[in-house]
Point group: C2
Chain length 190, copies 2
């Protein structure tokens, strides 16, 4: 099935999907900095900006980060020239209480990051598949932070070089019909 857009929405949103076919080409430092800057301008509760990003782009860093992924993700993400770990601060800086929006707000930042990458001709693929405890231990991440996702960033590679298992999923995924996602309040209460 192909994506069919009803409305004229932002180009980068229409074009973005989550390929696994990366090529090995390095990403300019300028692009990495720009997508992080874009992420930071996401809105957040009390402007807490609970998101934090750990960036791997040198070979030694990439090796360390790849090692934290599940075996299945390692098999394709090994080619990605940039891997970014997203962690989120659980507490409000201003009063020390739990910030119940720390994951939600970090997701917003990831959204902005993904679109800025798309604008720059880069692909992104977010992964929940990583070893949580091993990540915490080996990177020495304090319990104040929730470890959320690893994002692979790079240039689109050759689909044919993917393993069969991944090749068959290498296309933009479609979405549920809007009527199963959004309701008028009166309609919902009916």
């Amino acid at each position: 099935m192909k994506r069919k857009f009803v409305h004229n929405i932002i180009q980068e949103i229409k074009q973005r999907w989550s390929p696994r076919a990366f090529n090995l080409e390095k990403i300019p430092e300028e692009d990495i900095q720009a997508i992080i800057e874009a992420a930071c301008y996401a809105p957040s509760c009390f402007n807490e900006q609970p998101w934090r990003f750990l960036i791997a782009s040198e070979e030694s860093e990439l090796n360390m980060m790849r090692d934290l992924l599940t075996e299945k993700n390692q098999r394709w993400a090994k080619k990605a020239p940039v891997l970014i770990l997203v962690i989120a601060h659980r507490y409000f800086a201003y009063n020390g209480k739990e910030n119940r929006w720390h994951q939600f707000d970090s997701g917003t930042a990831w959204g902005y990051l993904s679109l800025e990458a798309q604008k720059r001709g880069l692909i992104t693929h977010g992964m929940g598949g990583f070893k949580n405890q091993k990540t915490r231990d080996s990177l020495n991440i304090s319990e104040e932070y929730e470890i959320i996702a690893v994002i692979a960033i790079g240039k689109l590679g050759n689909k044919d070089e993917l393993e069969e298992e991944f090749k068959k999923e290498e296309y933009p995924s479609t979405r549920r019909p809007i009527k199963e996602t959004a309701w008028r309040l009166t309609q919902f209460l009916d």
Copy 2:
């Protein structure tokens, strides 16, 4: 302090902020549908699309939704012509297990929504300040869903009509320096 952008990032990201000064002008249905469509094309873990949106735009719906906000938010959000409640499905549809990314992914969808609104000349303001239990009870939202935020959407109004308390915060907020948000992995481990 004014926002200073280092990189040439997406226009809508640069322009977006969270005003409280709404005017009463109605929003075309087309725009509401388009921003929801944009939200739906956010990436999510296993393409679960855990986000759901309850939309209030008719007077009776708006009255009901306003009543769920904290008193403080009611004071300015009463003018917003659209209020959207964001809720997130806690479990994976494919295996019934807890989806630990349901809030994160819903935040990504809200990010896309906010930028599509910006593109259409609409302002957005996300609120964590609402009465959680009252919302669950009065809208009869099952425990399978986390209730996350209410988003106000509309056209920018006159700042001078805001109460003093809000007037002094009516400008685009700045961000922490990047170096307090993102680190090279080697730098982080040093």
